[in-house]
C-alpha cells in the first residue's frame, strides 16, 4: 500500500492543507463523426490519485472521450488541461506522443515483434533502463518475465504487461479502455482487484471505460454515467447507485422497482410509506426503489415502521441471495432482494416495508412548484 493511504489523518492535514490538486480538467468537449454526434459537451475533473470510471451503454461516447483525452482524435470543441497546462483546445492540439498520458487498450495492443521487456521499455525511449523495466514488471507481478515473447502470455499476463508498459514512463494520467472485457469471467474479478491495487501503488490518476456496472461500482472512487454523449451523473459509487439522477440512470446501474405514489411538497407517499423528495413536487409521482431497499419477513419491522401484508408470487434463488416477487394489497407486484434463507414459496403471507433510500421521479401528470 502507498504511503498516502497508511498516513495518519492528523499528519495529512499538516503537510497538504488544501484540497486535492486537479490533474485533468475537461471542459465542454464535443466530437462528431460525420452526422453522428459522439460527444456533446462533456466536462470532467479528476483529482490526483483517484480512479474514475466512465460507464454507459455501447455507443454512448465513452471510448471517444478517452481517445480525445489521449490525443488520438481531435475534438470539435472544448478544451483539455493536464496539470493546469492546456493540451487541447483554443488552437492547441498536442500530439499524443507529447501528452504524457498512458493508455491501456481494450485488446492490450502489445507489440507482437517485441518481448515483454522491450514492450515495457518501449515508452522509455533511449533512456530505457533495465532497472525501470524490472521495477515495473515486479509491480505487476511479472518479475523475471522480461525475455518472454508476448504471444506466450495468458490473457491476465498480457493485461499486466500492457499496464506496466503504460505506467513505465511515469505518466500523469493513465487511461484504460474496457480493460477487463477481453478476460474471461473468473479472471476478470481477480484482475479488477489487482489493477486497482497496482494503480494505487503507482500513485497515478486513472480514468477507465466500462459498460459493466458491477465493475464500475466495485473498483472506482468516482463514477461518471454517460448517455448519448453527455455525463448525466458524476459521483461516488454509492451516490450514483442509491441516488440516481433519473430513471434511466437508475435502471442502467441496477434493478429498479417503481411504485405509483403521490407527492405533496417535499414528501411523497406510496403504498410502502412516505419518502423525502429532492425537488419539491405535487401530484402523481413514481417512487423508485432498489429491490434490496424493500425488506420482507413474516413479522413486521423490529422498530415499528409501517409495513403492509403481501403474498409471495414467485422466487428466483441465487445462492447468496434470492429475488422474491410479492403482490401488495393494491395488486401491484414488486421484487425484494433478501438473504438466501429462509426459502420463500409462492402463496406465503409476508410483511413488506421500506428499508433503504428511495428516489421520486415525475410520473404521470404533475405540477412542479417554484422552489421555496
Amino acid at each position: 500500500m502507498s504511503g498516502i493511504e497508511s498516513r495518519p489523518v492528523g499528519v495529512d492535514a499538516l503537510e497538504e492543507p488544501t484540497e486535492p490538486e486537479t490533474v485533468l480538467r475537461v471542459v465542454g468537449l464535443a466530437k462528431s463523426f460525420g452526422e453522428i454526434r459522439a460527444l456533446g459537451g462533456v466536462s470532467l475533473e479528476l483529482r490526483r490519485g483517484e480512479l474514475c470510471a466512465l460507464i454507459g451503454p455501447s455507443g454512448c461516447g465513452k471510448t471517444t472521450l478517452l481517445r480525445l483525452i489521449a490525443g488520438l482524435e481531435r475534438p470539435d470543441a472544448g478544451s483539455i488541461e493536464l496539470q493546469g497546462a492546456l493540451i487541447s483546445g483554443a488552437g492547441v492540439d498536442l500530439a499524443p506522443q507529447r501528452r504524457r498520458i498512458g493508455m491501456v487498450f481494450q485488446d492490450f495492443a502489445l507489440f507482437p515483434h517485441l518481448d515483454v521487456g522491450a514492450n515495457v521499455a518501449y515508452g522509455l525511449g533511449r533512456r530505457a533502463g533495465e532497472r525501470r523495466v524490472e521495477e515495473m514488471l515486479a509491480l505487476v507481478g511479472l518479475a523475471g518475465a522480461a525475455r518472454r515473447p508476448v504471444h506466450e502470455l495468458s490473457g491476465g499476463q498480457q493485461q499486466r504487461v500492457a499496464l506496466a508498459r503504460a505506467l513505465a514512463p511515469s505518466p500523469e494520467l493513465i487511461l484504460l479502455d474496457e480493460p477487463f472485457s477481453n478476460l474471461d469471467a473468473s479472471l476478470r474479478q481477480q484482475m479488477r482487484d489487482e489493477v486497482r491495487a497496482i494503480i494505487l501503488q503507482a500513485g497515478v490518476t486513472a480514468l477507465f471505460v466500462t459498460h459493466d456496472q458491477e465493475e464500475a461500482l466495485s473498483i472506482s472512487d468516482r463514477v461518471a454515467v454517460i448517455r448519448d454523449g453527455r455525463i448525466v451523473q458524476l459521483g461516488t459509487p454509492e451516490e450514483v447507485y442509491s441516488r440516481p439522477t433519473d430513471r434511466w440512470a437508475a435502471e442502467f446501474l441496477g434493478e429498479i422497482e417503481v411504485l405509483p405514489g403521490e407527492a405533496e411538497g417535499v414528501w411523497a407517499t406510496c403504498e410502502l410509506g412516505t419518502v423525502p423528495v429532492r425537488e419539491p413536487i405535487d401530484g402523481d409521482v413514481g417512487v423508485m426503489l432498489r429491490p434490496e431497499a424493500i425488506a420482507l419477513d413474516t413479522k413486521g419491522p423490529p422498530d415499528g415502521r409501517p409495513s403492509v401484508v403481501a403474498e409471495v408470487v414467485s422466487r428466483r434463488y441465487f445462492g447468496h441471495d434470492q429475488l422474491v416477487e410479492v403482490e401488495l394489497p393494491s395488486r401491484v407486484r414488486v421484487h425484494c432482494r433478501c438473504l438466501g434463507l429462509p426459502a420463500w414459496h409462492p402463496g406465503d403471507r409476508v410483511r413488506v416495508w421500506l428499508d433503504g433510500p428511495a428516489m421520486v421521479v415525475p410520473d404521470g401528470p404533475t405540477v412542479t412548484r417554484e422552489p421555496r
Binding site: A70, L72, Q97, R100, I101, M103, F105, A109, G125, P169
Partner: protein, 507 residues
C-alpha cells in the same frame, strides 16, 4: 506522383493517338486490324474453352474422387504454371519444329515434313498447356471451400447426384470458373512470347512488328489502344464475376469434408488422362530443355554470355522490385490508413499497369522516352520503370495485405508511449509489415525476370537478359543456346512461384 507514373501508359497512348485522330481512326478501321482482333480473340476463346474443359473435371477428380494420389496429382499438375509460356513455346518448337528433335529422329526414316507446330494450332496447344493451372488452382480452391452441407441438404431433399451437381454445386462454382477462365483469356490476349515464337499473327505480334518495321508510331499506338480496349472489356467481365463470388461464400465453422466419389474401374482412364497431361505440360518441356541443354554444353555453350544475361536479369529485376516496393508502401499506407475516394483511386491507378499487356506498357514508355524524356530512352532506368509499373500491383497486394494485418491500435499505443509518426513506423509498423514487403518485392523480381516484351522493347542495346536470350536464340533456331537460360529461368523462378500460387489457394 507514383500513381501518375503508373497510370501513364494508358494515358499516354491516348495522347499519342489524339495527335492525329484521323490516322488513328484509319488504322483502327483497317481491315487488317479487324482481322487481327478476330484472330487474337479467337485464340483467347479457344484457349479459354480448352483450359476450362480440361481443368474443371481435373479439379473435381483431385478433390472429390478416390483417384489414387489425388493430392500428388493436384500438386504435379499445377506445376506448369511456373513455366513461362515463351519457354514452353520454345520447348515445343525445339521438339517438333523444323530441325527440331523429332525431325532429327525421323529424318533417317525418310520423313521430311511434319505437321506444322507453327500457327493457330500450335499457339492453341502451347498456351492451353501452360495456362490451364490458372483455372485448376482457382476452381480447386473453390471446391475445397464449398460448403458440403448445401449439397447434403439437396440430397436429403430427394435430388439425385447429377441433379445436385447441376443445381447446387455448379452454380456455386460458376464465379470461380469464370474468374479462372478470364485470367486465362487475359493471359492469352497479352501474351507475346509464345505466339511470336509459334509464328501466330496475334495482336501483340502485330504491334511488335509495326513498332520494329515502321516509324509510324501513331499507327502502333492505335493498335495498342485497341488491345487496351479488348483487355479492359475482359477486365470488366472479370470484376463482375468477382463481385458475384462473394454471394456464394460458404457459412463459417469447420465443414466436414464430403465423402469422395468412388471411381471404380474409371480409375485407370483417369490416371491415364492425368499422366498424359503431365507428360505434355511438364515432362516434355523439361525433357526438351535438358536434352538441348546437354547438347548445348556438348557444343561448348558460351557461359560468359549466360552469366552476363543472368546478371542483367537480376539487375533489372532487382531495381524494379526496389522501386515497386517503395511505391507500393506509399500507396498502401495511404489506402490502408487513410481510406478515401482519392486514395482508392490511387490504388486503382496502381493496378492499371498490371491489367495492361506488357507490350502496351512498354510502348507507352517508348513514346514517352522518344518524345519527352529523350535522355532516358534506351537506358536501364527506362526498363526498370516499365517493369516496376507493370508489376506494381503485385507489390501493392502483398504490402497492403501485410499493413492491414498491423492493427491501428498498435500504432496508437506507440503514439501514447511518446513516439511520433516516423518513429512509430520505424519501430512498429515497419518491422511488422516487413515480411509482406519482402514478399511483394520478391514477386516483382520474379515476374520482372520472366518478363519478355517490355524487356525486348526497352532494354538498352546489347543488354541481353535471360528472357531476351531465350527469345533471340529460338528465333534464330539456336535451340541449344536457348536451353541454358530457359532452364535457369525455370529453376530460379519455380520454387517461389509455386509456393506463392499455393498460398493464394489457401487464402
Amino acid at each position: 506522383m507514383v500513381a501518375a507514373v503508373a497510370a501513364l501508359p494508358a494515358a499516354y497512348l491516348v495522347i499519342v493517338c489524339a495527335d492525329d485522330v484521323g490516322a488513328t481512326v484509319e488504322t483502327i478501321l483497317r481491315s487488317r486490324t479487324l482481322e487481327m482482333t478476330l484472330r487474337s480473340a479467337g485464340l483467347a476463346a479457344a484457349v479459354t474453352a480448352t483450359t476450362v474443359a480440361v481443368a474443371v473435371p481435373l479439379a473435381f477428380l483431385t478433390t472429390r474422387t478416390t483417384l489414387p494420389g489425388a493430392r500428388a496429382w493436384a500438386t504435379l499438375l499445377s506445376l506448369p504454371i511456373v513455366i513461362p509460356s515463351y519457354v514452353g513455346a520454345y520447348t515445343y518448337v525445339a521438339a517438333l519444329g523444323p530441325s527440331g528433335m523429332l525431325q532429327d529422329l525421323l529424318e533417317p526414316l525418310g520423313i521430311e515434313r511434319l505437321p506444322g507446330i507453327y500457327g493457330f494450332g500450335g499457339a492453341w496447344l502451347v498456351l492451353s498447356l501452360f495456362t490451364y493451372p490458372l483455372v485448376l488452382i482457382t476452381v480447386r480452391s473453390a471446391i475445397v471451400r464449398l460448403d458440403p452441407r448445401l449439397e447434403e441438404a439437396a440430397l436429403v431433399a430427394g435430388r439425385s447426384r447429377p441433379e445436385v451437381f447441376r443445381t447446387v454445386t455448379l452454380p456455386q462454382l460458376r464465379p470461380a470458373i469464370g474468374a479462372g477462365g478470364l485470367l486465362v483469356a487475359l493471359y492469352v490476349l497479352s501474351d507475346f512470347g509464345a505466339v511470336s515464337l509459334l509464328r501466330f499473327q496475334s495482336f501483340t505480334r502485330e504491334i511488335y512488328i509495326s513498332f520494329q518495321s515502321s516509324f509510324d508510331r501513331g499507327a502502333t499506338a492505335a493498335l495498342g489502344l485497341v488491345l487496351v480496349a479488348l483487355t479492359l472489356a475482359l477486365l470488366a467481365l472479370y470484376t463482375r464475376t468477382r463481385r458475384q463470388g462473394g454471394y456464394y461464400r460458404s457459412s463459417p465453422g469447420a465443414a466436414r469434408p464430403p465423402r469422395p466419389a468412388p471411381l471404380g474401374r474409371w480409375r485407370w482412364p483417369a490416371i491415364g488422362a492425368c499422366s498424359l497431361l503431365a507428360a505434355l505440360a511438364l515432362a516434355l518441356p523439361l525433357g526438351v530443355l535438358l536434352y538441348w541443354a546437354g547438347k548445348g554444353i556438348g557444343d561448348a555453350v558460351d557461359w560468359g554470355s549466360v552469366g552476363t544475361a543472368a546478371w542483367h536479369s537480376l539487375l533489372a529485376g532487382g531495381l524494379a522490385a526496389a522501386v515497386a516496393a517503395v511505391a507500393a508502401i506509399t500507396i498502401s499506407l495511404l489506402t490502408v490508413r487513410y481510406p478515401s475516394p482519392a486514395s482508392r483511386l490511387l490504388e486503382r491507378a496502381g493496378y492499371a499497369g498490371y491489367a495492361l499487356p506488357g507490350i502496351v506498357v512498354a510502348l507507352a514508355l517508348v513514346f514517352f522516352g522518344t518524345r519527352i524524356a529523350l535522355p532516358l530512352y534506351q537506358t536501364l532506368a527506362m526498363l526498370v520503370v516499365a517493369l516496376a509499373i507493370h508489376f506494381l500491383p503485385l507489390a501493392i497486394a502483398a504490402i497492403s495485405a501485410s499493413l492491414l494485418q498491423v492493427p491501428p491500435r498498435l500504432e496508437e499505443a506507440a503514439r501514447t508511449l511518446g513516439r511520433g509518426p516516423v518513429a512509430t513506423f520505424a519501430t512498429v509498423t515497419g518491422p511488422l509489415a516487413a515480411p509482406g514487403v519482402a514478399a511483394g518485392a520478391a514477386l516483382v523480381l520474379l515476374y520482372a525476370v520472366k518478363e519478355l516484351p517490355a524487356t525486348l522493347l526497352l532494354a538498352p542495346a546489347e543488354f541481353q537478359t535471360l528472357a531476351t536470350q531465350v527469345w533471340t536464340e529460338t528465333t534464330f533456331g539456336q535451340y541449344g543456346g536457348a536451353a541454358i537460360p530457359a532452364l535457369v529461368l525455370v529453376l530460379v523462378a519455380a520454387p517461389p512461384l509455386y509456393l506463392l500460387s499455393g498460398e493464394a489457394v489457401h487464402e
